[in-house]
Symmetry: C2
Subunit: 203 residues, 2 copies
Amino acid sequence: MRATGTRGRILSAALKLFNEGNTQAATTNHIAQALGMSPGNLHYHYRNREAIVYALYEEMISRTKLPHSKLPATIADIHEHQIHLANVYWEYRFFNRELLFLLSRDTVLKERYINENRAHRERIGIVMRGLAANGYFDIPDENVYEQLADTILLCNQFWHSHLETLGIEVDESNLAGGFRHIEGTMRPYLTRKALEELAAIGG
Amino acid sequence: MRATGTRGRILSAALKLFNEGNTQAATTNHIAQALGMSPGNLHYHYRNREAIVYALYEEMISRTKLPHSKLPATIADIHEHQIHLANVYWEYRFFNRELLFLLSRDTVLKERYINENRAHRERIGIVMRGLAANGYFDIPDENVYEQLADTILLCNQFWHSHLETLGIEVDESNLAGGFRHIEGTMRPYLTRKALEELAAIGG
């Protein structure tokens, strides 16, 4: 869902620089230079770096947000969706790495992000209840739904920071550890049906 | 364990300003002003704001870090320690709120923090294995120890940020929700003995 033409080229170059260094070190001049483009031409397409960060966030959301009609309905669906998310989060890793900083710099992004995050939490609740209804989960108490939703949001958003505060250099494999953590937290609630389905797909 | 005399007064005033606003808005001049003290006198005790943040972090650690001889050995000990931690984290709430930013600004603090965080993770592992040995936990698989340690660190460090990214204003009660989350995540592994002990203390 990347914009085509010059806008797409700007986003690709910016994403590379943001991931390799950080958003503050990568000015719009650096991004233009990486493309052999004049700063004026870049600013014609994106008025500043915040607009580029915002556009990359929109891309990321467009690739991870599932419509209600396509939410995971089986444990294999969940597993597949987690692998997809791990790939996308790695591709846009600057965003979660700098999440709190980026939100503190742009109130429009922050408002949008919070709204998306709340909607995501609601969708997680729907998925969990659907899995219970389909015989995959045995949930002893309503609070567990809230708890699993919080685990998922904590891991999605802060696993990168968690690794950093343990002094672990983040790579694609240990970043995906956040998803293994989510699966581990769900495991005590899985029914035999769910465990068999997971074993069949090597999860 | 707060320093006595002028140093203690400076830390108290700084902590109040950091909690109410943020560390960047509270300059050493503001802190001196709040105490009716000259900036020169304040700088005689703490050379800059980073030194004050560092001293407050040291205080927080001195109040939360348990020596190996005093680690929780029962489920009631754990519960009590969580309540203590919730109080201390609320008292020093600016620190976890700004954690990643503060670490990015001070490499000495970052190195110290990472070392403490790793040591904390090790102590958690010792506590969990001790609880299993004492008949409180029934742990199906070694990975669960790692997983519970990660849950505890995620909640201790990022529950504040988790609330913020859901647009929830942080107060003492919902900040303590991070500890309820930890207890909920442990619950599937608790033995009958542990559940009875928890019920007896209203946990």
